[in-house]
């Protein structure tokens, strides 16, 4: 197995703790991210997938649990310097390319902000050159550096967001629904760009999205979240061909595909959490069914899934 880049252990993110409206947005989830892979995270809105990404990168202070980056704990108390070092390695691309770029800054300064903070350029000329190179990397050109964000289309803005993330030469990028706000024809452009960059720079991605066909296309492994919990985690191909958790099955059966014949014969499954019929004594946790394929289940369910997969 490849080297672990990130280990997320029992991560919890609660809001309004102790009040009546306490929300357990992320409720005790654990997973690893390997070097050079793309891990997709899917689920319905409100399932905690974005919160997971934001907690990992410390946009929120996690309620409990640990995140290890190359074996080093990134949560908990840190000196400013340590944080800076860590921030350089981990970057984020946001969903809304309109809201995530400062309207009053020129592209040059937006992209160079990270370079300035980390002192990566020795002088103005080098700073300029770095920005020009980044613009070229994401398929824009240097003339764009002197413009403001409003002069760009949605797809171009998302490219700026990517250039900004790349400016500090990170190893790991969290992409939170980076294509949801874009048109179909532009989505493909951005996804192709992300894939190219991954090969070129050896990046690792956490790709958060609700468009399952795009997630399958870009991801090596996929995690499915439901109400703050990770319910299934498997290699992309395996998850689609052999979904084991009833929620994953229901989610997959709901995706409309651009194929009228398939649509005419589609049978949709709905998910009712009551099917599990867990009682208090049940030890419900992630269990490995086949190598790399984890499902949240009780001991009883584990046995029956095992039995079913043997008989197949």
């Amino acid at each position: 197995m490849a080297e672990k880049l990130l280990e997320i252990k029992n991560l919890k993110q609660y809001f309004n703790i102790g009040k009546t409206n306490e929300v357990r947005a992320v409720d005790d989830i654990s997973f690893d991210i390997y070097k050079g892979e793309t891990l997709g995270l899917v689920g319905e809105s409100g399932c905690g997938k974005s919160t997971t990404g934001r907690s990992i990168i410390r946009l929120y202070d996690a309620t409990d649990g640990d995140v290890f980056y190359e074996g080093e704990n990134v949560h908990g108390k840190k000196s400013k310097q340590d944080l800076k070092k860590f921030n350089r390695k981990m970057q984020m691309i946001f969903q809304d390319p309109y809201a995530s770029l400062n309207q009053r800054m020129k592209v040059m300064d937006i992209i160079a902000e990270g370079i300035d903070i980390h002192g990566l350029a020795k002088n103005q000329a080098e700073r300029k050159k770095m920005v020009y190179d980044l613009l070229e990397t994401v398929g824009l050109n240097k003339e764009h550096a002197n413009r403001y964000p409003h002069e760009f289309s949605g797809g171009q803005r998302q490219r700026l967001g990517i250039a900004r993330a790349l400016a500090v030469d990170p190893d790991f990028i969290i992409a939170d629904e980076p294509i949801s706000a874009l048109d179909v024809s532009i989505q493909a452009q951005v996804v192709n760009l992300l894939k190219e960059l991954q090969v070129e720079k050896g990046l690792t991605f956490l790709f958060i999205a609700h468009d399952l066909s795009m997630v399958k296309y870009i991801s090596d492994r996929i995690g499915v979240m439901y109400f703050g919990k990770l319910v299934e985690l498997a290699p992309a191909e395996e998850l689609y061909n052999n979904p084991l958790h009833p929620y994953t099955q229901s989610l997959l059966s709901a995706i409309p595909l651009p194929d009228p014949n398939y649509e005419r014969n589609r049978v949709r499954k709905s998910y009712d959490p009551a099917v599990h019929d867990y009682n208090k004594a049940d030890d419900v946790r992630m269990r490995e069914i086949s190598p790399g394929h984890f499902v949240q289940c009780s001991e009883r369910e584990f046995e029956s899934i095992k039995a079913a997969s043997v008989s197949n």
Binding site: E44, I186, L212, P256, E263, S270
Partner: protein
């Protein structure tokens, strides 16, 4: 089949400070009784403007009908007075919008929003309207409708709100229902429920639906026929099978191959290069030519007319001209064509 609505040579412009934006540049289509016509295209292609012009919801200060007509029940909707239009809107033609939060009034209980069109368009008493409203809520699958009548929109989930919007739009048994991206703001599981509900209701009340979306999966699910729009024009129109299994326009090819299907291999996704045309100054020839690798010389100069592929299928591309060179569509499109009897790649077997 009976034609419910006919749009003929419709041209519409917006007068803006920057000049005249030619948002719709000659759109023709018919809507038949009981069918679902899907209009697909990217933002700015004119799909929403087309339907808003049918409903006459565009600001009269800036939107201007240049030519053409919209025939409904023997009348041209572009020529009706506001008063006459009010009698049609919400009664004979109604609309479902994308965002169920902004299309409901947050300060009014949903019961009153449901009875509003009934009291406006039908001569019935308050208590009768209430009964009809409760039936409507039941029809769209809302549990405990009597209790929920008194509640406000914020007390419902997104999917429930969209059900309420659908109930309101169906209150007067409209002949035409226009659904503008009704499921785009919803999660896939909720989207599937709403689509099933709409298909179900359509069978029950035999209404015609114009369904606007950019999600080709949704189109494959709901549509009987599909119109593909680009740069203010329809570039291809046909039955759902013809568009998905025997597409002819390079833009349709691009759309179909830029979406990964669940069995797309690791190959690179096809991305349509460039951006949509600027309709302030629309290109002279085929608006898609600048982004198309299949563009011919004539595409830059002359706008292609519609070429007939079958009785139900036509496309506006010079590639269908008898003198045009034969080109190979993208691989993913050829894969689709293999399933379609009548296409030149057909490999046998039923569709």
């Amino acid at each position: 089949m009976e034609k419910i609505l006919q749009v003929k040579d419709l041209e519409l412009s917006f007068n803006t400070q920057g000049g005249e934006v030619k948002a719709i540049r000659g759109v023709n289509f018919d809507l038949y009784k009981g069918e679902t016509l899907a209009i697909v295209g990217e933002s700015g292609s004119g799909k929403s403007v087309t339907t808003k012009s049918i409903m006459r919801l565009l600001p009269e200060s800036s939107a201007e009908f240049k030519s053409g007509e919209i025939l409904f029940g023997g009348r041209d909707l572009t020529k009706l007075s506001d008063r006459e239009m009010q009698k049609i809107r919400g009664k004979e033609i109604s609309m479902i919008f994308q965002d169920p939060m902004t299309s409901l009034n947050p300060t009014m209980p949903i019961g009153r929003q449901l009875t509003e069109p009934l009291l406006k368009h039908q001569k019935i008493s308050n208590s009768e309207a209430k009964k009809v409203a409760i039936d409507l809520l039941r029809l769209v699958g809302m549990p405990k409708p009597e209790l929920r009548m008194k509640q406000y929109p914020h007390q419902f989930s997104g999917g429930q709100r969209q059900r309420i919007v659908i109930a309101i739009s169906l209150a007067c048994n409209p002949k035409v229902l226009i659904a503008d991206e009704p499921t785009t703001a919803l999660d896939v599981t909720i989207q599937a429920q709403i689509l099933e509900l709409m298909k179900d209701l359509q069978k029950k009340i035999d209404t015609s639906i114009i369904f606007i979306t950019h999600d080709l999966g949704v189109v494959a699910n709901v549509a009987d026929r599909v119109a593909v729009m680009y740069g203010g024009k329809i570039v291809e129109i046909g039955t759902v099978d013809e568009i998905f299994y025997n597409p002819q326009h390079p833009y349709t090819w691009g759309l179909l191959s830029s979406m990964p299907s669940l069995d797309t291999e690791d190959a690179k996704l096809y991305a349509i290069p460039g951006t949509p045309p600027d309709l302030l100054d629309p290109p002279k020839g085929d608006a898609f030519a600048l982004r198309s690798e299949y563009a011919l010389k004539i595409d830059m100069e002359q706008n292609p007319p519609f070429f007939k592929v079958s009785d139900t299928h036509s496309a506006a591309t010079w590639l269908l001209h008898p003198d045009a060179p034969q080109v190979e569509p993208p691989l993913t499109v050829i894969e689709r064509m293999k399933k379609f009897p009548g296409s030149r790649y057909y490999e046998g077997g039923a569709v």
